[in-house]
Symmetry: C2
Subunit: 386 residues, 2 copies
C-alpha cells in the first residue's frame, strides 16, 4: 500500500424530508448566492422546496449554468458575488452546477490578477468561499470531493481544478429527486460513477485488500441497481443506492494508497471539448480501447475484476481479463450508451491527431498509473474508438 | 435505506516515515500534553520518534493510561492540563490512550460542576479541546471516530461517551508500529475490528447494497490478513491492511443508513468491568450466544454473510445462517481466542444475573436493532456463554 493522506470534511445529510435542516447548516448572517442550471428544478419542485427552506435568509439567484460549466457564464456569476457582497454559495444541481460553484468559491477569494489562471496555471485552492450543495443528479461525486472541471468553449478547452479549500461544507442528498431525472441522465450518472471506480481500480495489484474490496463493492452496487433505476427511477430504495454509490465512487476514499489511472477521463474531456458529447458517454467510448491498449499492464486487475465483480470463474488470467473488458462494454450498452465515437458524430476524422497534439502541447509525456500512455498511444486509443 | 447524517473531519496521515509532518499539523503556539500508556512506546522507539518530531514544541508528558482507560488516572491528567495551561492533546497509543484523551478533551472544556457527569449522565460533547493521535495499536477505530469508553474501577463501571467535538484533528497511522505488537494484542485487534463490523451488519436486510458490500469488504480483508499478521507482524503489506481495515471498521461510514446492533459490546463491557477480561475477548465470548438467541431476526443477514464472506453456497437459508455463526466462532478461535467465559475465570457463576440486574438498573427495556433483547434475554445469552 502506498503512503497517503485522507481528509474529507463534507457533511452529508442523506434521505427524504431533510431539507428543513438547510437553514441550520448555513453560517450566521449568510448572504447566499443560489446557483442552478437550466431550470429543471423549477419544474420538479426542488426550487420551491429549497426556497421554502431558505425563508428569511438573504438569497440572490443565478440560474443558467450549463452542462460542462462554462467559464464565460461563471464570470457573470462572479460579478454578482462581488456586487451583492455574497458570503455563501449554494449549488442546487448536479455535477456541473456544483463544479461551477467550486470555481466561483475559488475565484471569489482569489488574490491574483486573473482568476482564469486558477484553471490555466492549475493553481490549487487552499481556501474558498464556503459553499453547500443540494444534489439533484447523482453522477460525479462532486458533492463530496474537492475537485471540479470547467469548460471554456471559446477556447475549446475543459480544465480541472481543485484543492483542500473546495470541499462543500454540506451536501443534501435526497433520493426522491431521482424520480424526475430523464433516462439519458440516469444512464450518464450510472456510467460516470462506474467509470470513476474503474479509473481508481484498473491499474496493477499493490496488495491493498480493502481498497480493492470497497471499489468492487461500488461496482457491484451500481451493476445491481442500474436496471432497477433505469426501469423505475421513482423506486426510492434503488434511488438511494444509486445516489450513495455515486458519491462513494469519487469521495476520495477508494483511491487512497493505490495507483490511479484517469487516462479515460483525460481523453474523454477532450472529446467533450471537441464534439460536445456528454461527459459520461465519452468515457464509455474510450474505456474499451484504453484497456485493450494497456492490456499487458492491467491484466491482473482486469482478471480480478472479472472474477469478483462479474463472477467469471472460467478460463486463465488473460481470458478472464478480456471478459472483464467485454463485460464493461456490455454494461455501458445495457444503459443504452454507444461505445464508439462514430455513433455520436460524423465529424470524427482527425480527432485522434488533434488529441495527440493537445497532449503534446501540454507537455504530457506519459499518462496513466505508470506514466506509459504517451500522446502517440492516446492517438491509437482514440482511433480504435472511432 | 434509512436517513442519515455523515461527517468525519479527521485527517489521516498513513504510511511509513510520515511522523516528520507531525509538527506542521499542530496549531500555532500549541502547548501539548502528550498522553501514553504503560510505556511500551519507550521500548519500541515510537516515543523517541514522536519526541524528535516535536522538537521545539512545548510538550508535557503524561504516561500510565491503562487498558480500559481509568477515570481516576485521567483525573490526574486533567489536573495537569489545568496546571500547565495545555491547549492541545496528543494521544500516542492504542484505543485506550485515545479514548482517555477524548475524555480529557471533553472534560477540559466542560462547564458543568463535575466532569464525571459527561459519563454518568451521557452528556454529548459538542466541543472539545483539540487533539491528535499517533496510533500504535490497530483495533478500536478510535483514531477516526468521535466515541470513547471510560472505566471507573472503584464503581466497576465502563461507560460510553461521544459527540461531534471528539473527532481527532489528525491521526498518524504508521503500519511499521505493528511489528512490535505482542501476539495477544494482535489477536485482540483483529477480533475487535471484526466484531465492530458484525455489530453494524448482522441485523436485518434493508436494501442498503453498498453498506453491505463495504462491511463485507472489511470482513474479507480482516479474514485474509489475519493469519499473515499473526505469523509475521513485520510484514508491512499485511500490517498496512490490518491497520486501515481496523480504522474503516469503525469510522462511522458502514453504519450510516442501516440498523445497528451493539448488544455484544453492551454485554462485553460488563464482562470487562466485572472480570477484567480483555475487551476483544469479551466480544468473542458473547457473539455466538447472541446470534443463536436472535437467530430468527438475524438469519437473513447471517446467511448473506456466510455466502458472501465465507463462500458457503450449500444448504438453505437457515443452514447457511448457522454456518455463518460457526465460522465466526472459528475465526475467533483461529486467533487463539477462547469463546467461553469459563476459559477466563472460575468465578463466572452469578455473572448473568448481575448483568441482567445492571441492564434493569439502567432502565434498558430492549437492546439491539429491533429493541428486542430484554435484560432477561441478556441473562440467557450470558448463561449460554459460560
Amino acid at each position: 500500500m502506498n503512503n497517503f493522506e485522507f481528509v474529507n470534511p463534507t457533511k452529508i445529510i442523506f434521505g427524504k424530508d431533510q431539507l428543513q435542516k438547510l437553514q441550520s447548516e448555513l453560517p450566521e448572517n449568510a448572504k447566499v448566492l443560489m446557483l442552478y442550471g437550466g431550470g429543471s428544478i423549477k419544474k420538479n419542485g426542488i426550487y420551491d422546496r429549497v426556497m421554502e427552506a431558505l425563508e428569511g435568509v438573504s438569497v440572490t439567484e443565478f440560474g443558467g449554468i450549463p452542462a460542462n460549466p462554462e467559464y464565460d457564464i461563471l464570470k457573470e456569476a462572479l460579478a454578482v458575488i462581488k456586487d451583492k457582497d455574497i458570503n455563501f454559495l449554494l449549488a442546487v444541481g448536479g455535477g456541473s452546477v456544483i463544479d461551477g460553484t467550486k470555481y466561483l468559491s475559488s475565484a471569489a477569494l482569489y488574490e491574483g490578477e486573473d482568476p482564469w489562471d486558477i484553471l490555466a496555471k492549475g493553481i490549487r485552492t487552499e481556501k474558498g468561499m464556503p459553499f453547500g450543495t443540494v444534489l439533484t443528479l447523482p453522477a460525479t461525486g462532486s458533492e463530496m470531493n474537492s475537485g471540479a472541471v470547467i469548460t471554456r468553449k471559446s477556447m475549446k478547452v475543459k480544465l480541472p481544478m481543485g484543492g483542500p479549500g473546495l470541499f462543500p461544507k454540506f451536501s443534501f442528498l435526497d433520493p426522491t429527486v431521482v424520480a424526475s431525472i430523464p433516462q439519458r441522465q440516469l444512464a450518464n450518472g450510472l456510467a460516470d460513477a462506474f467509470t470513476h471506480v474503474l479509473e481508481q481500480y484498473m491499474t496493477y495489484p499493490i496488495g491493498a485488500l480493502i481498497q480493492d474490496r470497497f471499489a468492487e463493492g461500488v461496482f457491484q452496487s451500481i451493476i445491481e441497481v442500474a436496471p432497477r433505476i433505469m426501469k423505475d427511477p421513482s423506486n426510492y430504495e434503488a434511488a438511494a443506492n444509486f445516489m450513495w454509490s455515486c458519491t462513494l465512487a469519487l469521495n476520495g476514499l477508494i483511491q487512497k494508497g493505490v495507483p490511479t489511472d484517469w487516462v479515460i477521463h483525460m481523453i474523454g474531456h477532450e472529446l467533450t471539448a471537441l464534439h460536445g458529447i456528454d461527459h459520461a458517454r465519452t468515457l464509455a467510448i474510450i474505456a474499451e480501447s484504453h484497456y485493450l491498449t494497456s492490456f499487458e499492464t492491467k491484466k491482473e486487475k482486469l482478471a480480478q475484476y472479472a472474477e469478483r465483480v462479474w463472477g467469471i470463474t472460467e478460463g486463465g488470467l488473460e481470458e478472464k481479463a478480456k471478459a472483464g473488458i467485454q463485460k464493461t462494454k456490455e454494461f455501458y450498452e445495457s444503459l443504452g450508451i454507444d461505445t464508439k465515437l462514430s455513433a455520436y458524430t460524423n465529424d470524427y476524422q482527425g480527432t485522434a491527431e488533434e488529441i495527440e497534439k493537445r497532449f503534446n502541447d501540454r507537455g504530457i509525456k506519459g499518462a496513466g498509473e505508470r506514466g506509459l500512455v504517451t500522446p502517440e498511444s492516446v492517438r491509437k486509443i482514440v482511433e480504435m474508438a472511432y
